[in-house]
Symmetry: C2
Subunit: 148 residues, 2 copies
DNA sequence: CTACAAGCTCAACTTAACTTGAGGTCAAGC
DNA sequence: GCTTGACCTCAAGTTAAGTTGAGCTTGTAG
């Protein structure tokens, strides 16, 4: 296949390290897009690799598909995101990430402190209280942890 | 209630911020323990609050109930965990946290880089490559956890 | 031109971590 | 002694993020 050619699901799967079924799934969820050949087979533009990469990385970090979907929705459909598109997305995410990193650090430091503190009082334990705050934030109806 | 008294599920729920049903659930999973009154109602020792706190915090960090259960199993049954018990747990978990923070930073930096880099080349994109690496790592049957 | 690998759809199953509900029991206040 | 609210059990439902399988179509290599 000449470079620049469109990709089949299988190719995307191989290159992205994501299962074909997962790609179908992402498409059903609107996270990626494809068009079809005359024979009804999916064909993807190269931007899909970028999108999938983003999805995976974000998931590693515990961002839900729903959230990822919202972020990706801000990218223009069908064309490879431009520098500016990227800028918007990544700036927004970076802020969220910064926040999250910060919280995790606090949590970590809390843990470290708790090694020494004895923490007999649940109510005063900084760790516990942090946990509460995070729990409240991160949890819609439910939280699934692939992550955070 | 005099201090030192045993707690009912409702009380534990209120004090720990966890639903009664979740407490039942944890008990079924062996993460916490109770004994019963003559009328078959659960009564918890005070150590349960600490355990629940641990469970919640660990979850924040992305540790599964199964793993938490294993860790808690190493704590002596029935008594409030000591400082040393805590030390072991929190050291291990802090590593998981560090890992997670690290991943978040990578994602953030990847995003940041991508603002400027234009990243038209998927193959060279740092984000992409990170994604690949992660994909390979977690690829087994399915990954659910943060793995250290 | 015919295998057979890849694709397609759709429904059902999976796991984690709970929640909800039905149907029945216990205990404390009036 | 009765009513009300907290408990109990057990089964079934829920959400996320996919996977698996059946049954059928495409496309490509020999």
């Amino acid at each position: 296949m000449a470079p620049g050619t469109e990709l089949t699901v299988g190719q995307v799967a191989m290159r992205s390290g994501v299962a074909v079924s997962a790609l179908h799934f992402y498409e059903a969820r609107g996270l990626i897009r494809s068009h079809r050949t005359s024979g009804n087979q999916r064909r993807y533009g190269r931007d899909v690799l970028r999108r999938v990469a983003i999805i995976k990385v974000a998931q590693e970090v515990g961002i839900s598909l729903a959230e990822i979907g919202e972020a990706l929705a801000s990218l223009p459909e069908g064309r490879t995101p431009t520098r500016d598109d990227w800028g918007l997305l990544s700036t927004a995410w970076r802020d969220a990430l910064d926040h999250k990193i910060d919280q995790l650090k606090k949590l970590r430091d809390g843990l470290t402190d708790c090694i020494g503190c004895g923490c007999m009082s649940i109510d005063k334990c900084p760790l516990r209280n942090k946990g509460d705050r995070l729990a409240r934030e991160g949890a819609g109806a439910r939280r699934l942890l692939v992550g955070p």
